[in-house]
Symmetry: C2
Subunit: 166 residues, 2 copies
């Protein structure tokens, strides 16, 4: 079971899409950190999440350190998704049982002080001449890789078509 942590995300549409994928991949909690004002569950968020906020517990912390303190005792493994020199290549990373996938803001990614607080940093390999990706797509790729190798869990296919809105 994984959890998703979003640090200083600004676009409710991105948060909504991430929550939708988080639910599809069987994620546990969604955690929001570092926003100046509490995150608003506005219409754009509700629509892009396909109302998944009704099914997934959402926690919010003023700072990333507050989140860490809360979960430190629970064997949490905190994994930043970011491009750094030392980051592990995503296909080569084995996600521990209680993984927290951490993604940073649309404009700045993960700041250094958050990277320093992570247990591992993982990067998504790009092969193009221009390597840039929407944060929601990076999040969904990390969730896919985090769950793809899970033994003993049976994928669910029959409840809804893949891309249907309603």
């Amino acid at each position: 079971m994984f959890n998703t942590v979003l640090h200083q995300l600004a676009d409710p549409g991105n948060v909504g899409m991430i929550l939708r994928a988080h639910a599809a991949f069987g994620g546990n909690r969604l955690i929001l950190t570092g926003n100046e004002k509490p995150f608003t569950l506005n219409k754009k968020f509700r629509n892009t999440s396909r109302s998944m906020y009704k099914h997934i517990p959402i926690d919010e912390f003023a700072t990333f350190a507050d989140f860490k303190e809360q979960y430190a005792s629970q064997n949490a493994h905190i994994i930043g998704i970011e491009i750094t020199e030392e980051a592990i290549n995503l296909p080569e990373f084995s996600f521990p049982e209680n993984s927290f996938l951490v993604l940073g803001s649309e404009r700045f990614g993960l700041p250094d002080e958050v990277i320093e607080q992570c247990d591992s940093i993982v990067k998504i390999p790009h092969y193009g001449q221009v390597g840039s990706m929407n944060v929601a797509m990076a999040a969904s790729i990390a969730m896919y890789e985090c769950t793809r190798g899970k033994q003993g869990i049976k994928p669910v296919y029959n409840r809804m078509y893949n891309f249907k809105s309603k």
Copy 2:
């Protein structure tokens, strides 16, 4: 080298995000099929694509059959991303050299007549109680899996941060 085919996508924001990921993963052509009116490269598309339309060739065909006819002689392997009973589980699928990843509209996914024209159908495993995903995220996961195992290609990390907009 893969190509991406979008059948009847309605939201320019989704097409833009997909083009951005397509470029990041080193995709060749972006192909649009089945739209009643030619797709407009409007502001939302240009912004969400991060101007990648300047770097990636975009083709448009009135029907999926027109696209197939054009590419039939080029050893194209056409792979529909959709949930069907016979679809192959994405982690178990080996992408051939000249793959065309085909994704369907936000509301209806891939229609039967397109599925019948594909060489393979592949599905993304979900583990949640509610299995639904934005088409752009499904596309990016397919691109990731299509490129992750490529031998002899070196990933590119140093050009731009992961999620930066500019």
